[in-house]
């Protein structure tokens, strides 16, 4: 510890260079945190490993091929099924097509909705009020805040997949994993468009337990194998992963980007340390001449490199925490609003990013430190004269 002030003073002997290096570490660190947060968000498991016992059932070919209502009835009869409901992507528009007004709208069965999505809870109003009003709307808490809506307010949606003008009244507000969607009764569109009644984008199934979940998936697939609408049943997690995979291998892309950024930090810190030791060849030789052992010099140089990385990462962390609420707000007010509820500070991601940056910082100091302690003292002293 008695060498720490010495390390600090050396670190800031060229203030401009040190500050620029800190900036060069800070920014990649910030982006690493951001990428890590997105990956963590995609990997997030709200059940914390217990499993939600939810099964997503969709047409084997594509989402665009609807499933018939008879499938829902057959699934409800299967042993191990706690509840099942239709799930229709409504699309449409609210006010206009601007990004600000984009959010997800679904037609579902209000009677069993909270049995299936049991992690969600009513935050305002009541489930009963929503269920008892055919045009009742269940709204995510984020949307309430975003648009300043209140209970009892009328919301008009204009359909495109399901043509027509639909007026809804906000009857309840929910809080849960995705707080940026609205839900209404499937019967609304069934009655408005009777010719298309009983067609579902997909069916959500809640199994009684984990064993039933495992058992039901192949049974549902087999049950409709030879029907006109064969299905693909999968766990909620598989469903989400496949959905994300539509964007390509996002996680691999983000992780590759993280590796590139770590390499950038490594090169910047290594360059700074190489410059710092090169201009101090004589000074380091003098220290060794007056008795500083090789190990101590090595430790001092590595300490400098590590401190540089620690300061850069700490500044990046502070910036990240400072800007995160604004970033979340930006996502909330964008068409990606559905992601905003899963977008939170993941302490393990930040800790891993911090550790990675510090390790890279230490690594960056390794080669200059080894070269410095291996140079003969007499050569180092001579380089001045």
């Amino acid at each position: 510890m008695k060498f720490l002030p010495f390390v600090f003073k050396n670190l800031f002997r060229k203030k401009t260079r040190s500050l620029l290096t800190l900036g060069s570490i800070l920014l990649p660190f910030f982006v690493i945190c951001l990428l890590g947060t997105f990956v963590a968000m995609l990997d997030a498991d709200p059940s914390k490993g217990r499993g939600m016992f939810r099964i997503a059932v969709r047409h084997k070919v594509s989402f665009t091929n609807p499933l018939p209502a008879s499938h829902l009835e057959k699934i409800r009869q299967l042993p191990g099924v706690k509840a099942a409901m239709p799930f229709n992507w409504f699309g449409g528009r609210y006010v206009d097509f601007s990004a600000f007004h984009v959010f997800q709208r679904f037609a579902i069965d209000p009677v069993v909705f909270f049995d299936i999505f049991d992690a969600s809870a009513i935050a305002e109003g009541s489930a009963e009020a929503w269920r008892s009003d055919r045009s009742g709307l269940l709204v995510g808490e984020l949307l309430i805040r975003k648009y300043g809506w209140r209970l009892g307010q009328q919301i008009t949606l204009v359909g495109d997949i399901w043509p027509g003008v639909y007026a809804f009244t906000i009857r309840a507000v929910y809080r849960g994993n995705d707080e940026a969607s609205v839900f209404f009764d499937q019967k609304v569109i069934d009655e408005a468009l009777p010719a298309r009644a009983g067609r579902y984008t997909m069916i959500w199934v809640k199994a009684v337990d984990a064993a039933a979940t495992r058992d039901l998936i192949p049974r549902i697939n087999v049950l409709f194998e030879n029907s006109s609408s064969p299905v693909r049943a999968e766990t909620e997690k598989e469903f989400q992963n496949n959905y994300v995979a539509l964007l390509g291998n996002v996680k691999l892309f983000f992780r590759s980007l993280t590796a590139v950024l770590a390499a950038v930090v490594l090169l910047i810190a290594a360059n700074t340390m190489a410059m710092a030791t090169r201009e101090r060849v004589t000074e380091l030789a003098v220290l060794r001449a007056i008795g500083f052992p090789r190990g101590t010099i090595f430790g001092l140089l590595l300490g400098e490199s590590a401190l540089l990385a620690i300061f850069g990462a700490a500044a990046g962390l502070a910036l990240y925490l400072l800007l995160f609420p604004k970033l979340r707000a930006v996502v909330l007010y964008s068409p990606l609003a559905g992601l905003a509820s899963g977008l939170r500070v993941y302490p393990d991601v930040l800790a891993a990013a911090f550790l990675l940056t510090v390790l890279v910082g230490i690594l960056a100091g390794l080669v200059p430190a080894i070269r410095s302690v291996r140079r003969p003292i007499a050569d180092g002293l001579r380089s001045v004269a």
Partner: protein
């Protein structure tokens, strides 16, 4: 480690440095360059020895070998009880920190540290606590007359003051032997004179054995003994009395050119 204090005279004729058949060669490509050629020399405790000779005569190489920062090709160097020519790198570092004080031509202070912190540097390698280190560094700075400049950085000091801080750093651990490589080489005559007076005082009052490399006859004249090297060979080894040394040093200096 003892506190810096006026020392007791060493036993006259007690050798502190014994150099026996010392050879130092460098290899450049296929060419072998002999810098020191079968050199034998003894330096007694309390000696103030000036090493003179033309450039390339091996003065600095000999100084580095005595101080244990370079290795001989063959031969022995014993300083005190230790054969430095056969010690390990780690043992040498520890030995140097306790037994050798270095004074360089360009002072070689650490620019980001204050005068006090520069003097404290070698003390960081000891087991002294913060308070003892502070006391010892202040004492060293008081010996060189710079207690009022403790908090100044090297860039805020004159060349002479910087060299005095370097001398304070050299004596901070109270070593027996001071090795100085052209200590006045970068100073004007007034500051050079001040440094020489200080070195004389360290030798006479604090009983430091001093080996000093110099080209300057005036600096050499302060020494009690003049050793003249030429092409790695000991050409002259003269014990000089004060007053006569000036002429002898000048003569060696002239013969070196």
């Amino acid at each position: 480690m003892s506190a810096i204090s006026p020392g007791t005279p060493g036993t006259p004729g007690t050798p502190l440095i014994r150099i026996d058949s010392l050879v130092k060669q460098y290899t450049r490509d296929t060419q072998v360059l002999t810098v020191l050629d079968n050199l034998s020399l003894t330096v007694d405790e309390g000696d103030f020895m000036a090493l003179m000779g033309p450039s390339g005569s091996g003065k600095t190489t000999l100084l580095n070998l005595i101080a244990g920062i370079d290795r001989p090709t063959s031969g022995r160097i014993v300083v005190g009880e230790k054969e430095v020519s056969s010690m390990s790198e780690a043992a040498l570092a520890k030995w140097r920190s306790a037994n050798i004080g270095f004074i360089f031509q360009l002072y070689n202070l650490v620019p980001v540290l204050t005068a006090f912190e520069n003097v404290e540097l070698p003390l960081l390698l000891t087991n002294l606590n913060r308070a003892r280190r502070r006391k010892q560094a202040e004492l060293a700075l008081s010996v060189v007359g710079l207690t009022d400049r403790m908090d100044h950085y090297p860039r805020q000091l004159s060349g002479g003051q910087e060299q005095r801080v370097a001398i304070a750093r050299a004596i901070a651990t109270d070593p027996k032997l001071l090795v100085a490589d052209e200590p006045t080489g970068d100073l004007d005559s007034r500051n050079g004179e001040e440094i020489l007076v200080l070195m004389e005082r360290l030798n006479s009052e604090f009983k430091k054995t001093i080996v000093m490399v110099t080209h300057d006859p005036k600096a050499a004249s302060r020494a009690h003994r003049l050793v003249h090297l030429d092409k790695g060979v000991l050409k002259e080894d003269v014990k000089a009395e004060r007053g006569k040394a000036v002429g002898m040093a000048a003569a060696i200096s002239v013969s070196s050119t």
